[in-house]
């Protein structure tokens, strides 16, 4: 299933449940982001890219997999924009487009072990589950 640019934009905004137009381009999200140096697009850009409808670019970027889902950007944004929610939405759109479900809830207990931080499972689940 693939969508045109405008529908894709709408889907991502609706899934994220936040309004990219509230962004005042302060960059506090990117100032906070611990994965900044690993990304080619940065949290404040996720927001402007969604607003500009550049969803394909976002979906194909490394950034969406580099995001740690730590939600620091969400916590710090003075305007309640939630850049990470756009990343999640873009990931979801990609996974749905590919028709894949990489990580099922039933598989999680088997993967748990002492060495693996709980946060990693949560993060992986967010990224790879449909």
């Amino acid at each position: 299933m693939s969508h045109n640019k405008e529908t894709l934009r709408e889907i991502v905004i609706e899934t994220a449940g936040v309004n990219p137009r509230k962004c005042m381009k302060c960059g506090k999200c990117s100032a906070t982001c611990p994965a900044y140096d690993e990304m080619e697009y940065h949290p404040h850009q996720f927001v402007s890219m969604v607003e500009a409808g550049k969803i394909e670019e976002l979906m194909n970027s490394k950034s969406i997999w580099m995001c740690l889902s730590c939600f620091a950007c969400v916590e710090r944004c003075p305007r309640g924009v939630e850049p990470a929610s756009f990343i999640e939405a873009a990931r979801l759109a990609l996974i749905r487009q590919q028709g894949k479900n990489h990580l099922k809830a039933e598989d999680v207990p088997a993967k748990l072990n002492d060495k693996l931080p709980g946060q990693a499972i949560v993060s992986a689940f967010r990224k790879y589950s449909k």
Binding site: M24, A31, T32, C33, H42, P78, R79
Partner: protein, 664 residues
């Protein structure tokens, strides 16, 4: 039966665009009592008013209905028109077919139908209107200014210079407000104290100005021209008349560990204190929570050393009652509390300070005698990071204020510039979202910081400040132009905290029945055309209590408010609103329900003798309304369980007639 004229206004296309005015006039012609119904392009114009006046005379009208804009706009105009033609002005009713009809409807048919209904309701009301005569009430020629910052001081000076007595009520031990704490002022960089303290002295020495420092407004009664205010003078434990301000007690007081609020807690003061050298009035104040004598009964040193015998540990709060014709609110602002912004480590490191604290750190009378030193170790800082918009422009987030605090861009440029000027070895960064400098010589000022002083302005926000083991602060920030995340090792971080109205403003607004916005700034009567008046008659606004402002703007508004006050106080009397409440003594059962709801204290009770049907007499308690105090808000008419309270011009039967006409 009344003889009613109906005048439907087009208001150009404002009304006629969505309401068929011809149809409205035609339909209302057949209402009972209507002898003429007509329409015209602009009823409020000279020609329109002449049309109304002629109709009143020619048709011997006893009442008129104007279907036009809101009564707030032109009720007064049409009342004057009626009076000029010999009709009692209170026989005029306005049907608002613009704001409440044409402007909110798109469909002509719907709009027209609604306009006819609104017209019908007004006609039904006019049938029950009775001529009313407005009385007069005298104006007390004295003004009250609440708050003694630069706003209050300027307003008081201007009113007093016009010859009217003014009282300033200031909650702190001295007047001066925040300006007294500021070091230098943008955009000219003149020293704040040098321009403020002469004004404080002028106020103190003016024979028409009386300063109630360390005082608060406890109660407000009355109305425009005739407010009655109770002022609480808090106990200073020092007789302000005897005290000469010599400061010997301050020097001798053994309790020297009290955080000094004037320096924002960055140094200590004694239990008996004078906030700063140029304080007005220069009178000592004992802090009862710190004073050893008051806490333990032991000490009393200040009383021993005071040659004037001014110390009195038994002093109590006292109350004064005074009457005023006008009240000016000048309660100013405070920087917001930054507890919720822990990303900036304000509570974790003493080297993260607010901009107001920074003012004290560079002020010659401040805790470091004007040398910029790091609060943690007293060392000279080399790298400083300024963060703008801390807590401002936060909307949709859980903390902070949605508005722009307006002054931070300019004072941050000032701080950064002064740092570089005094200490050329410093590296100064300013992180900004936008730089807003729309004032006379403001942008030039900011550009000077960049171009002449080499301040590093970076477009982006700081996301995190982390205190390091070596005592430095790691600042992680965005550089949006370079597309980088910066990590700066800083010695100090200065936060431009948002400003908010004083906490006491909300209860004060309730006392004054003055309205506020959701941020607790006082609202003006009209955002463009009446910016210094509150919607409550006789209450005026000056300075930051109405919205964030710098000093030039504060002073302009302060003088503007003074002009409005003077305009009121030169009048000997004011025309009262005759639409006041009255109680039907035969129906009143003296239950006190109305007195409890009256916001103006207009209702009192009397014991009156009544002849009963069986020819005996009985004494009954009944309500009576003071028409000079009543503002006609109608709260009592709703509260009265026996239907005895009624409002002239808006009687229960008139309102019911309107409702019936609408439901017909």
């Amino acid at each position: 039966m009344q003889r009613i004229g109906v005048f439907v206004c087009w208001c150009g296309s404002n009304i006629a665009g969505t309401v068929d005015v011809h149809k409205v006039a035609e339909a209302l012609k057949s209402e009972p009592g209507v002898v003429i119904a007509t329409q015209y392009q602009y009823m409020c114009s000279e020609a329109g008013q002449t049309l109304i006046k002629d109709a009143i005379r020619d048709h011997k009208l006893t009442g008129i209905v104007v279907c036009s804009c809101s009564p707030r706009m032109h009720e007064a105009t049409f009342r004057k028109t009626a009076a000029a033609a010999g009709l009692n002005p209170y026989m005029v009713e306005i049907a608002n077919i613009r704001e409440q009809c044409s402007w909110i409807h798109k469909d002509m048919e719907v709009g027209t139908e609604k306009a006819i209904i609104l017209g019908r309701a007004a006609i039904a009301k006019v049938h029950l209107n009775a001529p009313l005569v407005a009385g007069e009430s005298p104006v007390v020629k004295r003004a009250l200014v609440i708050g003694g910052g630069i706003a209050g001081i300027q307003t008081a000076l201007d009113i007093a210079d016009a010859g009217f007595p003014v009282d300033i009520v200031e909650t702190k031990p001295t007047i001066g407000g925040k300006m007294a704490q500021i070091d230098k002022t943008f955009p000219t960089l003149d020293c704040a104290a040098c321009i403020l303290t002469p004004k404080m002295v002028d106020a103190a020495q003016h024979d028409k100005i009386n300063i109630y420092a360390y005082s608060e407004v406890a109660e407000v009664k009355g109305f425009v021209g005739n407010f009655s205010v109770k002022i609480k003078q808090k106990a200073r434990m020092v007789d302000p008349v005897k005290c000469t301000g010599c400061g010997l007690c301050v020097e001798k007081c053994p309790m020297k560990k009290v955080p000094n609020e004037f320096n924002l807690g960055m140094d200590k003061r004694s239990a008996i204190y004078i906030p700063f050298a140029q304080a007005v009035p220069k009178v000592a104040t004992i802090d009862p929570t710190a004073c050893l004598k008051m806490k333990t009964g032991k000490c009393g040193l200040c009383a021993t050393v005071c040659e004037a015998g001014a110390i009195d540990y038994t002093q109590q709060d006292s109350f004064i009652e005074e009457k005023y014709g006008a009240i000016v609110v000048a309660t100013g602002y405070n920087p917001i509390n930054l507890d919720q912004f822990d990303e900036f480590a304000y509570n974790q490191s003493p080297d993260v300070v607010t901009s107001l604290e920074f003012e004290r750190l560079t002020n010659a009378a401040g805790p470091t005698a004007g040398t910029l030193l790091r609060p943690s170790d007293g060392k000279h800082p080399h790298t400083l990071v300024f963060v703008q918009c801390v807590g401002s422009r936060c909307d949709g987030a859980e903390k902070g204020k949605s508005y722009c605090s307006k002054i931070c861009c300019m004072y941050t440029a000032k701080h950064a510039m002064l740092c570089r000027e005094k200490y050329p070895d410093t590296e100064v960064y300013v992180f900004y979202i936008d730089v807003r400098t729309p004032g006379k010589n403001f942008d030039e000022f900011y550009r000077r910081a960049v171009e002449e002083y080499g301040v590093k302005y970076i477009k982006g926000m700081v996301g995190k400040v982390a205190p390091q083991a070596d005592g430095s602060l790691l600042v992680q920030a965005s550089d949006l132009i370079e597309g980088e995340q910066l990590k700066i090792k800083a010695d100090m971080v200065v936060l431009a905290a948002a400003i908010e109205p004083d906490q006491s403003a909300r209860p004060l607004a309730t006392m004054l029945t003055a309205s506020m916005d959701t941020n607790d700034f006082f609202t003006e009567a009209h955002p463009k055309l009446r910016p210094v008046e509150s919607p409550t008659a006789g209450v005026f606004l000056s300075g930051c209590c109405q919205g964030p402002k710098d000093i030039p703007e504060t002073v302009s508004q302060a003088s503007g408010a003074a002009a409005k006050v003077i305009g009121l106080l030169v009048k000997d009397s004011l025309t009262c609103n005759p639409c006041v409440a009255h109680s039907d003594e035969l129906m009143c059962n003296g239950c006190s329900a109305c007195e409890k709801v009256c916001p103006y204290g207009a209702i009192t009770y009397q014991d009156k003798e009544f002849r009963m049907p069986d020819r005996t007499t009985a004494i009954r308690r009944v309500a009576s309304v003071n028409p000079a105090v009543c503002q006609g808000c109608g709260a009592c008419t709703v509260a009265c369980p026996s239907g005895a309270m009624d409002l002239n011009g808006f009687s229960n039967s008139q309102i019911m007639a309107e409702v019936d006409a609408i439901c017909k």
